[in-house]
C-alpha cells in the first residue's frame, strides 16, 4: 500500500513539474465548452437544452488528451521496466496510473464543470445531478482510458488508435450521465441513471486495471 501511494505521489510530482500538460486538458475543456454559445447562438433555452451534452462530451474529449503520454513517456525512457519491477503487480501499477490520471485530469474537470454549466445556462436544479453523474463518470473514463492507453502502447499510431478504442466504450457512460442531468433539469428523479453509472464504475474498477496490467506486461516484452 505504501508503494501504491508512493507511485501516485510520483505521478503527481511529475504532473506538477509538467504543469502546462496538466492544465492543457482543463483549458481545452473550458475553451471547447465556450465555443458552443458562439456556434449555436446565445439563446438561453437552446443552450440550457444541450448544456449537459456539451459538458459531458467536452469532458470526455478532454480526459483523452493526456492519455497519449500516460504510458508512452514511460515506455520511451525505460521507466516502464522499472515500474513493472517496483514490487507491485502490473495491475496495481495500472490502477495507480488511473488514480493519478483522475486526480490530475478528472477532478479538475469535475470542478470546472459547474461553472461551465452555469455559463451554458443549465437550470440550477440540473447542476447537482450533472456533477453527481460526472463523479463516477470521470473515474470510469480514467479507468477505461488507462486500459486503452496500455493496450495501444507500442503501436505505431497509438495516439490515433486510442480514441477509436476508448470512445465507443465510453458511450454508455455518456448516455446515462447526460440522462441524469437532463432528467434532473426537468425535476424528475435521477436515481436510476446515477445507480447505473455507479454500477459501471463498480465493474470498471476491478476489470480495467487487470486488463491494463496484462497489456503493460505484453508491451514490456
Amino acid at each position: 500500500m505504501t508503494l501504491f501511494l508512493g507511485l501516485i505521489a510520483r505521478e503527481l510530482r511529475l504532473s506538477v513539474r509538467h504543469g502546462s500538460d496538466t492544465l492543457a486538458a482543463l483549458l481545452f475543456f473550458l475553451l471547447a465548452g465556450a465555443l458552443f454559445p458562439l456556434a449555436v447562438g446565445p439563446a438561453p433555452e437552446t443552450l440550457a437544452r444541450i448544456a449537459p451534452g456539451i459538458v459531458w462530451v467536452c469532458a470526455l474529449l478532454a480526459a483523452l488528451l493526456p492519455l497519449d503520454r500516460l504510458f508512452g513517456a514511460e515506455l520511451e525512457d525505460g521507466s516502464l521496466d522499472q515500474l513493472l519491477l517496483c514490487g507491485l503487480p502490473a495491475a496495481a501499477v495500472a490502477a495507480a496510473k488511473a488514480c493519478a490520471h483522475w486526480l490530475v485530469t478528472g477532478l479538475p474537470l469535475l470542478l470546472a464543470a459547474g461553472p461551465l454549466a452555469v455559463m451554458l445556462r443549465l437550470p440550477p436544479e440540473g447542476i447537482p445531478p450533472l456533477l453527481a453523474g460526472l463523479l463516477p463518470g470521470t473515474a470510469i473514463l480514467s479507468l477505461l482510458g488507462t486500459t486503452g492507453a496500455a493496450i495501444v502502447l507500442g503501436a505505431r499510431r497509438g495516439g490515433v488508435l486510442l480514441p477509436l478504442l476508448v470512445l465507443p466504450l465510453a458511450a454508455p457512460v455518456l448516455i446515462f450521465g447526460v440522462g441524469a442531468a437532463d432528467v434532473g433539469a426537468s425535476g424528475l428523479t435521477t436515481r436510476a441513471n446515477l445507480l447505473l453509472l455507479a454500477a459501471m464504475f463498480a465493474a470498471a474498477l476491478p476489470l480495467c486495471p487487470l486488463a491494463a496490467g496484462a497489456a503493460l506486461r505484453h508491451a514490456a516484452e
Binding site: A9, D77, G78, D81, L85, G87, P89, A220, E221
Partner: protein, 228 residues
C-alpha cells in the same frame, strides 16, 4: 533478393573458466540458476537450452555479438520476458511463480536510464527510497553535489551514474546490468567497481551484459555464440 527463411540461432556453449565452480563451493552453493531457458524475440528463437548457475556473491558476464540475446536473457531473469521453456530458480524456488516477490529481489539497469528530466536528481530516486538511502547512493556515484539539480541538466554520463545510483538505494540481492559502464569516465568506473564489490560482499549476485571490461574480479564468463 529473396527473403531468407527464419532460422533459429545455434544453441549456446557455456564456457566456465577453471575456478568458476570452485568459487561456487567457497560461497556455499548456487543461488541463481537457469535451467533449459529458451526465448523468442518476435518470430525468431533467440536462444534455447540455456543453463547456468551463479553462487552467492558471484558474478556472471554475458558476452557475445550484438543480437545474440544478452539483453533478452537479462529481461528474462528480471521477469519482464516470459521464457518459452525452462525456468529461473532463486534458492531453488521458481521465480516466475510470484513475479512481484521476484521483482523485489531485482535491481535492473536497462539500456535506457529511466530518468525523468523534469524531476531533480534526488527526486528521480525518491520512489521506493528513504532520504538517507538516496544521499548514500548519490554519494557512491559522485552526484551528491548535484542532488537538487533538474535531471535534464545532467550530461549523458551523469545520467548513467544516476541510473547506477538506483541500484544502491534499496537492498536487492540480484543486480541485472545491461551495458552498465556505457559512457562512464575512468573515475566513475572505479566508483562503480566499489559499489559492485560492496554488493557482492553481502552475498549479492551480479549478472551483466557488456562489451567493455567491467570491474568484476573473478566473474564467470557466459559466452553467447554468433547468430547462425
Amino acid at each position: 533478393m529473396a527473403v531468407a527463411p527464419l532460422k533459429p540461432y545455434k544453441t549456446w556453449v557455456v564456457h566456465t573458466p577453471p575456478g568458476g565452480h570452485g568459487a561456487a563451493q567457497r560461497f556455499g552453493g548456487q543461488v541463481l540458476e537457469g535451467q533449459g531457458l529458451a526465448a523468442f524475440r518476435g518470430e525468431r528463437l533467440v536462444f534455447s537450452g540455456l543453463r547456468f548457475a551463479v553462487p552467492a556473491g558471484g558474478a556472471m558476464l554475458l558476452l557475445g555479438p550484438n543480437g545474440a540475446g544478452k539483453s533478452t536473457l537479462l529481461r528474462l531473469l528480471a521477469g519482464l520476458v516470459r521464457p518459452e521453456a525452462g525456468s529461473v530458480l532463486w534458492h531453488g524456488e521458481d521465480t516466475l511463480a510470484d513475479l512481484p516477490a521476484h521483482a523485489d529481489r531485482i535491481a535492473y539497469l536497462g539500456h535506457q536510464d529511466a530518468i525523468k528530466p523534469g524531476l531533480t536528481t534526488a527526486e528521480n530516486l525518491r520512489f521506493r527510497a528513504t532520504p538517507a538511502a538516496i544521499d548514500t547512493a548519490l554519494d557512491a556515484v559522485g552526484l551528491a553535489a548535484l542532488a537538487d539539480l533538474p535531471a535534464r541538466m545532467l550530461s549523458a554520463g551523469q545520467k548513467r551514474r544516476l541510473a547506477l545510483a538506483r541500484l544502491a538505494v534499496r537492498p536487492a540481492p540480484i543486480w541485472l546490468l545491461d551495458e552498465p559502464t556505457l559512457g562512464l569516465d575512468a573515475a566513475s568506473v572505479a566508483r562503480f567497481g566499489a559499489m559492485l564489490a560492496a554488493h557482492r560482499a553481502t552475498g549479492g549476485v551480479v549478472v551483466a551484459a557488456t562489451h567493455l571490461p567491467l570491474p568484476l574480479p573473478d566473474a564467470v564468463d557466459f559466452v553467447f555464440g554468433a547468430p547462425a
